[in-house]
Symmetry: C2
Subunit: 308 residues, 2 copies
């Protein structure tokens, strides 16, 4: 089993969907990634920052799942990063109602000493300079660095983003962001251009339409499980990334063939995440439920044409 | 091998895409369906209507591929149905520039006597009353009736459409049309409602995002092959339906498991159709090319997680 370093926000979210709304609940990229990765019982550490207003029970929730939380800085006099958003009826688009950076405005991540030799690093969505500073703290170049990012950084910190993209092995990005980053409409062409920027593996997330994994001239397509309803999409992308990273850390095999499995695990975990508000579903998720849904994924896509 | 009856338009199309434009070329649902089904060397008959302006060579093109054309009525003094459209840059939407019904306005399809015992009937997109009249000509209820339709008929002939939907076994429909027909956003819920309307099998086409096959509580997801470029999407849906129907006619197995294969064949043939203008690619398509692309589809979706 490889050590896994997870960097990202730990936050309060307030979410409104057509099904209801929440007060401030547990959120943040590092939270979702850690919860997903913890399904694989890997040796992981979350690196983040919270304020004095952040409940101890949320930290215990992570550490109870085997996530090392010594890298989560607590700024007693500060307030935790807060995001609030409202989803439209189609659940594919949302408006941000509030973004209060608070302690995140002055976040200088410190990777715990005993995790500086981690083989896998998962850089959750953050300012690219913050992501870069984490890589610089590692003892050696990790075996696999996975980067998640978003269009916001393309708009306001493109040079820094391109600099960190150059240094990673895998990028996870959604379809519109892949198009924005490359100026190409075809995802095949976009993925090829992104590979030229650095990452040997490109994962393009298409929400309800699944995810594509590209490597050289190879492609793999993991569908999203067709669901009766999506209750709350918040954290689905991070959960996908956490499942992807967690599976690779557990299996210690970073081949393209095994990354296919990692993408399927990521999709499977994301399909649970959207069933309830925030992290609610991920917190109660049992391994037999995951196993059962993997069966569903298998019957969803596997077919039996004999090719000679 | 089961006999296959194909009903639909045989037409002239004039197409404009970001890659160029065509004069009047061969088009029409029955044309695309027949060309796709002919890949399986099935015993098929096309039922349609054309005008005196329709080139003999186009009819020969079909009959050379084993399609019985005795059910294609030629109205010497009439003009062939003409459609003209222009695709937007994203290729997912298009404007209709012209629709000249011509001989189609007075189309009373006649199924050739020797095909009235066909086991499989593919009803291409047409007025639902015309589709219905074909079913009424069959000697017995066919083993499998497949219906393709579009939003136009939902807008202007909904009662007739619901009446024909009631009598078919499989419906192929795109995602937006499934939502319009049922008033449900979730495709899972929409597919379930459509099954209550009659068809035991529902195929929802999602263009570049692939296709879903629903039957009771079972789902199968066939991705579309990620392509560098879509040159011309015209006829992709009909080609999909023709591949689906042709494969089932050839294999004589209408189980859900085998329909998965039929959906994969449909997607595979559609991935060729969009590579060139109109029917151009389908006319030159060789079986070894199809075979090779099926391999690509297999490696695109097949994964190897051991589940106990």
């Amino acid at each position: 089993m490889s050590k896994l370093v997870i960097v990202g926000t730990v936050a309060f979210d307030a979410i409104e969907t057509p099904f209801g709304k929440t007060d401030k609940i547990l959120g943040g990229a590092a939270t979702y990634i850690s919860l997903a990765a913890s399904q694989f019982n890997v040796d992981s550490a979350a690196v983040s920052i919270v304020g004095g207003d952040f409940p101890q029970e949320y930290l215990i929730l992570l550490s109870d799942r085997g996530v090392d939380i010594s890298g989560i800085e607590i700024v007693k006099e500060g307030k935790t990063f807060f995001w609030s958003g409202k989803y439209h009826n189609d659940m594919n688009t949302r408006d941000t109602l509030a973004t209060e950076l608070n302690v995140l405005a002055d976040f200088h991540p410190v990777v715990p000493t005993e995790y500086r030799d981690a083989k896998i690093v998962m850089l959750g969505n953050l300012h690219p300079l913050v992501q870069l500073s984490v890589l610089e703290q590692m003892d050696h170049k990790p075996e696999l660095v996975i980067l998640d990012t978003m269009n916001f950084w393309m708009d306001c910190a493109l040079d820094d983003l391109l600099n960190v993209i150059k240094k990673v092995d895998v990028i996870t990005i959604n379809d519109e962001e892949a198009r924005q980053l490359t100026g190409e409409y075809s995802l095949v062409v976009a993925a090829s251009k992104i590979q030229e920027m650095g990452p040997k593996y490109v994962v393009i997330k298409k929400g309800e339409h699944g995810a594509l994994l590209f490597h050289k001239d190879k492609v793999f397509y993991a569908p999203a499980l067709p669901l009766k309803e999506v209750f709350d999409p918040t954290g689905a992308g991070d959960t996908f990334a956490g499942g992807f990273a967690g599976y690779l850390a557990k299996s210690e095999d970073i081949s393209f063939e095994n990354m296919k499995n990692a993408v399927i695990y990521g999709s499977t975990l994301a399909s649970f995440c959207v069933e309830k508000f925030g992290t609610e579903r991920m917190v109660t998720l049992k391994s037999n439920e995951v196993h059962q849904r993997l069966q569903q994924f298998k019957s969803l896509t596997q077919f039996d044409i004999e090719l000679t």
